[in-house]
Symmetry: C2
Subunit: 343 residues, 2 copies
Amino acid sequence: MTDSSKKSVLVIGGGAVGAIAALNLEVGGLATVTVVLRSNFEVVNRDGYHIQSCDHGILENWKPSHVLPQVPAITDGTRYDYVVLATKNIPDILPIADVLKRILSAGNSHTTVVLIQNGLNIAKPLLESFSQTPVLSGVSLIGSAEIDPGVIVQDDKDRLLVGAFDNPNVPAAKLEEKAKDFVRIYGAGGKTECVYSPNVLHDRWRKLVYNACLNPICAVTGLDTGRIRLAPGAVEELVEPAMREIVEAARMAAGVELGVKVVKEMVECDPLEIYLRPSMLADVRKGNFLEFENLLGEPLREGTAKGVQMPTLRVLYSLCKAIQWRTKESKGLVSIPPKRNAV
Amino acid sequence: MTDSSKKSVLVIGGGAVGAIAALNLEVGGLATVTVVLRSNFEVVNRDGYHIQSCDHGILENWKPSHVLPQVPAITDGTRYDYVVLATKNIPDILPIADVLKRILSAGNSHTTVVLIQNGLNIAKPLLESFSQTPVLSGVSLIGSAEIDPGVIVQDDKDRLLVGAFDNPNVPAAKLEEKAKDFVRIYGAGGKTECVYSPNVLHDRWRKLVYNACLNPICAVTGLDTGRIRLAPGAVEELVEPAMREIVEAARMAAGVELGVKVVKEMVECDPLEIYLRPSMLADVRKGNFLEFENLLGEPLREGTAKGVQMPTLRVLYSLCKAIQWRTKESKGLVSIPPKRNAV
């Protein structure tokens, strides 16, 4: 197999999820991967990744084919078959359409975008900016963390559900073909479980049962998911009521039936061997922005628009919004008067 | 006036509230004050307090008549006219009845207990343990903080509302007399506004409009009250709905009519010149226990028992409970298995 037979893949975001995605794609031998790094560019460019993975074992100084410190400009003429977004999706801070505008023309139909990102309605802004572009949904069930820059610990196996977001301007057959092709190259190494799953909405709502609930509850209380299960009342009074609100919103807003057992399954889904710190808790501890608009805001808006009562998630959403504003202040994005009466 | 004509007062808790209470009582000249200190005993015993007060000006090395490192034992034979509790009230950690059992006999009727503490139903456990003891309610509207051990900054004037909690075993006239006597000795120095206010329930529910709402919202979001007012949506989506729940609970559970304007008044009550950090926010930052059961749990339980819908406070309460459990773990009061599957 020559290099030219390989697919050219750009992975934007080389953290806990993106690094393992790049690894899977390279290991399969069907792709040449360029990874765009930000905070860890220097260390990965110099030394590569240190990866400790339940799927891949231990890799020292592993590097993808190329690393870049920023998204290459469209004028570079580089043409990628796939652009994978494996960053957090924080539309209130940095809309992903703005990121992709660097690399994709408005009329692009060649490059397929793959969003390995959580939450609801994340493809909407892309379909507005890139109406001819196939956009795939990647729902990742991986357990992985970047514990230091370039140091990845993957302690729960990578399972990736891939399907296409609806796009009225692209034939359904082409969307399906792109999704299946990406599944093929991602899973070619045999180390991971990547499956084609056409029911994108079902996959996303199902994952929200965890992500819209446990994630912000852990972020706000400072407890990991293991401790939430140990803290008296936290599951019964917070987690389960929130999850039931998502189940009802999925039914009313999207016709997605998640079944009665999903709440118990999601409460208990983290491996018992670890005290898992979900992403929002990790972010709040690092003073990072929270990925709460797509995880929590969108399902809340969709559910309440259909008349679903979502009192638990409403409060959690407003708390996250206030915490996000605090982070904006700490990063200098909002300023406050030195004395309030000076406003 | 001889010393023997003075009232003997024991103030338990010499932090932001207790130090100013002790100062007012000493300044008035009608009381001899003993203050029980814990974390700041050493520094105050050696150097006294450094107090910067909007009521009293700057005092260097100020000491009350006596300071003690712990509550004196009942066997000491010391007899106090008043025992003032100016500690936080955290019944889930240290019930105040347990504190008072050191100094008061079960049959005590001489010593009057004054609770300068927030929240609802705080006298209930005392009436069970000390059925003959007059217990007064002190609702303090002071703005004061202990910024370092023994260093008190009082930036909003001390206003204290004093009345008696109902006690079927003590004649109402005696309760009223004790309350008015305490008002007299507390306000004698003329530097503070201490008034007799017989409507204890009204005063307490009114203060809960602030304390059950702004206090936990600030603690959970990490924002002070000034920033909560600046953060988009926080007042409309969190603070005001929570406050309206308290207003309704006061009406339904206690027949207390707080009026429609109280919400706006409480949102805007902190002086505009400062970014005020309410006590629960200060506590969460210091890793201290939160005073949430009497401030939030009791009004929530009273309101919901009467059928009041309190969705905002229900979520805030459960979040505070989880945070309290986290603090218990950090202080070694609960232990968790090193691996959860080892349970």
